[in-house]
Structures are given as C-alpha cells and as structure tokens.
C-alpha cells in the first residue's frame, strides 16, 4: 500500500477492525480524531483503490457503513434473508408462511386419521423445527440459503396468527435438530371459537359507530350498512 500515508493507513486499520459489521463515518472520525474533510477524502481514495466499499444499512436507509471490499456484510446490516436490496420481501415471507402452515396441517391430518390412541396421535402431529427446515429446503422455493433460525421466525409468525402452537421438549444433545439440549415442536391447531357474534351484525364493523345516535345524521333508521345487510 505504498502511496498512502499514515492517515490512510490508520483509517484502513479502523475499518478492518470493524469486521463484517462495517463502521459509520462518524465513528471513524471519533476513533482517529481526524477532521471530517480529511476523512471524506481518505474514504474516497480508498474506495477508488477498491480497498473498501460502502454498504447501505437496512435499519436507517441514509446511513452508509464502510467495510473491507471483499467481506460479506453481516445479516444485521443487510437484514438477512428477508431483505433483498433494502426492500423487505413481504411476498417471500407470505409464501414461506403458507408453505410451512400447509406442511404442519397435512401432518396433523394424517395423525388424526390414523385413529390410534390419543397419545400417539398427538405426538405424531408434532413436527420439529428441523423437519420443517428440511421440507422447505427440499421445496426449493427460496433462492437464498435459509437457516433454522430463519424458519423459526417464520413459524413464530404462524403462532402469532393463531394457527400453530409450540412446545419445547428436552432432547439429548446429538439428536438431529436439538439446540442446547432442547427441541422446539410445532403443531397446527384450530381456533377455539368461531367468529364472534358481534361482527356478524353491521354495527360490529361500522367505521362511524361513535357518531351514530337516533335523530342524528347517522342513525340506525337510515344506516346504509344495515340497508345493505337486510337486502339478502
């Protein structure tokens, strides 16, 4: 690296230390105590020499972090498998969501139809996160390599949808898919009540509910939602 002076070497050292997380230009300034204009000049120099590169962070889209040219940016910067070029891939997540749910649902169906004693039925309707991960990898719908943690975040969203429940069991170290001595099992479930009665009447879904009273502009007697509802 001849041709670069001590300042450049210092900046390069700082960026190298940051590893694959990258470092923000303001942090470089703090660490090296160099003025901003100097830093900017040095950074432009290094970039043209193809020693460092700038990567946009997904957390704050205006921030640029710098790292060595040949390093892969860390997941926290690029957002991991769910982001491609700073865009959250909602459709990708949705597709994965549905595939995982179908897999768990079909497993529960086969378990229910086997009609053995209930303990076996229940245990066979469970699928470990490892099994789901293998199934998704084999499906090949993902261009990006997905890890087991990624699949677990998808399965968590299914839990928040109320379609899946999770239990943790203790498993021996060394069994496939176990992490730190325990395994997560997932199972498709049905909701415990059908859609509740209030939402079957127009008042349950009405956006102007608070303004409605007898004798006003919006009242039960001239409610357009009720007229539509009564038109059956």
């Amino acid at each position: 690296m001849k041709g670069s002076d001590n300042q450049e070497k210092l900046v390069y050292q700082i960026i190298e230390d940051a590893g694959n997380k990258g470092i923000w230009s303001r942090d470089i300034r703090y660490k090296s105590n160099l003025p901003l204009t100097e830093i900017n000049k040095i950074l432009k120099n290094l970039e043209s020499k193809k020693l460092i590169k700038a990567v946009k962070s997904v957390a704050a889209s205006k921030k640029k972090v710098y790292m060595l040219y040949n390093l892969q940016p860390d997941r926290s910067v690029t957002g991991g498998a769910w982001y491609s070029d700073q865009d959250f891939e909602s459709e990708f997540v949705e597709v994965l969501n549905q595939q995982c749910f179908k897999f768990l649902q079909s497993k529960a169906e086969t378990a229910r139809e086997s009609k053995q004693n209930p303990m076996i039925q229940r245990n066979s309707s469970f699928a470990s996160s490892h099994e789901v991960w293998k199934y998704i990898c084999e499906l090949g719908i993902s261009k990006v390599e997905l890890s087991m943690e990624d699949i677990e975040t998808i399965l968590n969203t299914l839990i928040y949808d109320g379609k899946v429940e999770m239990t943790i069991i203790a498993a021996k170290e060394g069994t496939v898919g176990s992490v730190d001595g325990h395994m997560k099992l997932y199972r498709a479930v049905n909701p415990i009540i059908p859609p509740t009665g209030l939402v079957r009447a127009p008042c349950g879904l009405c956006p102007v509910f608070d303004d409605c009273h007898e004798g006003g502009e919006i009242s039960p007697s001239n409610c357009i939602y009720m007229t539509e509802w009564l038109e059956f």
Binding site: T153, E165, L198, L205, C223
Partner: protein
C-alpha cells in the same frame, strides 16, 4: 350505568311492558333508589299509575325494595336484571334442549309471569300442552310435576324469598314493607303436593259434544273454590344457573374445536359432575378423581380406563390450561380451571373482533403484543415480519380504537420523548369492557332499526288494498254464479 345501557333498558321495557312502566323504570335506573312519592313527583305521573307500574316491576324481579329507618320504603331498579330480558329466548331454548317441551313451557311461564306458585305453573303448562296434543289425549299433571321437580333438583328454578313466619305474636303495627328472607337449604325444596288432574282443553272446538261442556263446567268452579295447597311459595327462574350452563357449553365447544370430540365429552362430564357442588364464581371446580370420571361417562362411550387416563393427561398438558392436575390420589385428581377458561374465551373474542375489523395482519400484531405483554415498536416489526410502515399504521389504528395502550418508561427524570421507551401493551379487562359497551349500543341500534322497519313498511296499508281486491273479485264471482 352507561348511556347505552340505559337506552337499551328503556327499549326493552317499552317493548315488553309499555310506556308507563318504561318511564318509571328508566327514571329509577337513572336516579338510584327512591321512595314512592318522590318517584311520582319527579316523573309527573299519578300515584296510582306509579303503584301499578312498580307492582309489575317488582313481580318480575326488576325492582327491589328496602325499608330504611324512619319507616321509609325505597325502591331500587336492577339495571343488569333488565338487560337479562334479552336472553329470555335463549333460556327457553336451553330448557327445551334439556327437558323437552314440558320444561320449555314451564320456564316460559315463569319468565313471562315473574313469579308463580307450583300448582299454577303445572295447571297452565298442562293446559297448553293438551291443546297441542291430538284429540282425546290429555297431559297428566303428574308428568308436568315430575319435570318441575327435576328442574328444581338441577337448580334451574328456585324459590323466591318469602315472608318469614313469626312465631311470637307481635302486637306492634306491621312494618310498611315486609323483609323477605329465604333459607339457603329451602331454596330448591319442592313442597309435597299431590296434584292430580289432567290438562283441559279450551272449549273452542266445535267437535265437543253438547254433554261435555256441562260436565266440564262444574269441574272448573270446584277448582276455583278449593284452597291452593302451596299458597305463598312462589318460584322463579334461576338465571345464574342458566349462565353457568352457557359458560359450560362455551368451554366444551372450545375444547372440541381445539382437540377432538372425545376430549370435549370428558370435559362435559366433569362439568356436569361439578354443576351443583361448585358455586358459579369459583375459580376452580372441585377436584374429581379419574375413577369417578370413568364411572360417570355417558353410556355408549366405551373407552377403556387407560385411554381415559391418556386423554386426561393430554388435557392437563395442553397449552390451553383448561384442565389442571391437582393430585395423584384415586388415579389422578383433575380440576377445571374456570377463570383461565373464561379469560381464554374472552381473549379469543377480542382477537376475532380485531381480525374482522382490521384484517389478519393486524390480528397477528395484536396476538404478538398479547403474548409478549410489553413490546417496543421496532420489535413488533421484527417479530411479526410485517414492513415497518404498515406495522406502524396498524399499531396506531388499534391504539386509537382503545384495543391497545402505551406504557411510558422514561430514561431521564424529565420524561423527554426522545429519551423515553414507549411500550405497547394490551389490557384485556379494559378492552373487554369497551367491547361490551359497544355490544349494548349495537343491540339498541338493531332494535331501533327493527321498530323503524315495521313502522315504515306500511304493510297494513297494502294488506287492506289486497283485501279489497279479494272482496271485489269474490262478489263478482258470486254475482256471476247467481245469474247462471
């Protein structure tokens, strides 16, 4: 009492009892307990009418009275009891499913009349049932009495509090209003009556021979002259017991949806066994041993003891936590966790309303906040896998509709917004109250719309027009026939 509840009460009272009762009832609900003269003065109705209206309300258990010191009697309306009138059809239908037509008519008579003696109920129900049966058959009083006794045994009907029998002859003046007492043990005690007789048809059918009316008439008059053996013992429908039954049904259907039919039957058996032993507001039922449950399973459900044990273990381990294991004696003691079951059902109702109103992504965020109890906005986006902009929008919408609330945790003593943590949280109790209030207002809206539709539909006018056409055509045909 909120405004919506008062409006609903006034609509119900008007539909069932009329304008005057409605005016008095609503006035009492609004102002609390008041003596007779103040009511008459404030509502501007005559004392006579107020007395009659209060009679009706007291008969139907909607108003209670109390003697205060200085001998003043104050009347107080029970708003929650008025709102129960909405559920009358449901009570009647439940009795029909459990005790068939006889039970249904008994409960219907009790609800329509407020309080009745047992003999009056039996007579009325027998008469009504006889009318619907084929000619020649009559309903025996004994059958109706049997159903009545069964209803009392399962606590669906109970005795009303009555005037206590004073042993010592008190020479002092009688109090202005009697204080009614009821002994806990006597509440479901059926008096020993020997009601013999059969139901009678009304004499409106033309097929009755001329001899029969004469034979029936003397029977009627003698009945009126006999003193009623159980005078003073009045019965009313026990609404709490019906509510307990509805709660049990909801729990059983939730278990059936989450697990399978057999588990729900087991839970139903457990609930039936603890119907009478557990009070309605207890958090847990009495512990039941697995042997007892096995013996009480309905006939026709022949599952072996081991399979039952497996089901019970599965129920106890389920994340729903409806059933808990409280000991190991007798093959395992199991309780049903009533509070937890009701909380889960209420939460599921809230989630379903959020889902229908705002969409399934909002429902995902709602369940996420429920599970994590307190969560920051950034974490919501990460866990729910929803883009940041949409997540923010949905959170604010739910916040504005009061399904969620914010908890501030300041980092500095001056509570500066840039240095404070804001955590989203769901308070189930307050969200449930808000939803309940909305339900009351919705029902009031629906009743008003129904009244509006029946008024505006002008059916009466068109019926008269059609009738005129019929009359014209018929007279023309008659004329033409006569000419020929």
């Amino acid at each position: 009492m909120t405004q919506a509840e008062i409006k609903l009460c006034s609509l119900l009272l008007q539909e069932h009892f009329g304008e005057i009762v409605e005016k008095i009832g609503v006035h009492l609900i609004r102002t609390g307990s008041q003596p007779l003269r103040v009511i008459a003065h404030d509502t501007g109705t005559s004392l006579d009418q107020v007395k009659k209206a209060l009679c009706v309300l007291v008969q139907h258990n909607l108003v209670s009275y109390q003697v205060h010191k200085r001998g003043v009697v104050e009347y107080e309306a029970q708003c929650s009891r008025v709102l129960r009138m909405l559920r009358y059809p449901r009570y009647i239908y439940t009795t029909k499913t459990l005790y068939s037509d006889t039970g249904e008519l008994i409960v219907e008579e009790l609800l329509l009349n407020g309080k009745l003696t047992m003999s009056a109920v039996v007579k009325k129900v027998a008469d009504r049932l006889t009318e619907t049966m084929e000619d020649g058959k009559t309903m025996d009083y004994a059958e109706v009495s049997n159903t009545f006794v069964r209803l009392a045994d399962t606590h669906f009907v109970q005795r009303c509090p009555s005037v206590p029998t004073t042993e010592n002859s008190d020479p002092g003046p009688p109090p202005p209003a009697p204080t009614l007492v009821i002994n806990e043990k006597d509440m479901y005690l059926v008096p020993k009556l020997s009601l013999i007789g059969k139901g009678k048809r009304r004499r409106s059918s033309d097929e009755d021979a001329a001899g029969e009316p004469k034979a029936k008439r003397p029977k009627y008059t003698t009945d009126n002259k006999e003193p009623i053996p159980d005078d003073g013992i009045y019965w009313q429908a026990n609404l709490d017991r019906f509510h307990q039954h509805f709660r049990d049904q909801a729990i059983v259907s939730a278990v059936a949806n989450r697990m399978d039919q057999t588990s729900s039957e087991i839970v139903r058996t457990m609930l039936r066994m603890s119907e009478i032993t557990t009070s309605s507001s207890a958090p847990f039922t009495q512990p039941l041993s697995s042997n007892e449950i096995f013996r009480s399973l309905p006939v026709g459900y022949n599952i072996s003891k081991q399979v039952l044990d497996q089901y019970l273990t599965l129920l106890a381990d389920d994340p729903l936590e409806f059933v808990g294991k409280s000991g190991d004696s007798g093959g395992g003691m199991y309780v049903i966790n009533l509070h937890k079951a009701l909380a889960s059902l209420a939460t599921a109702t809230l989630e379903s309303v959020v889902q229908e109103r705002f969409g399934s992504r909002c429902a995902r965020i709602f369940r996420l906040v429920l599970q994590k109890k307190h969560i920051e906005q950034k974490q919501v986006e990460d866990f729910a896998m929803i883009p940041a902009k949409e997540a923010k929008d949905m959170l604010y919408k739910m916040l504005s509709e009061n399904f969620m609330s914010l908890q501030e945790i300041p980092k500095t003593p001056d509570h500066a917004p840039s240095r404070t943590f804001y955590l989203y949280t769901v308070n189930i109790l307050s969200a449930a109250r808000m939803l309940l209030h909305r339900c009351y207002k919705s029902i009031a809206n629906l009743i008003e719309r129904r009244q509006f539709e029946t008024k505006e539909n002008k059916l009466d006018a068109s019926e008269i027009q059609v009738d005129e056409t019929i009359f014209l055509l018929e007279s023309y045909i008659e004329c033409t026939m006569k000419r020929q």
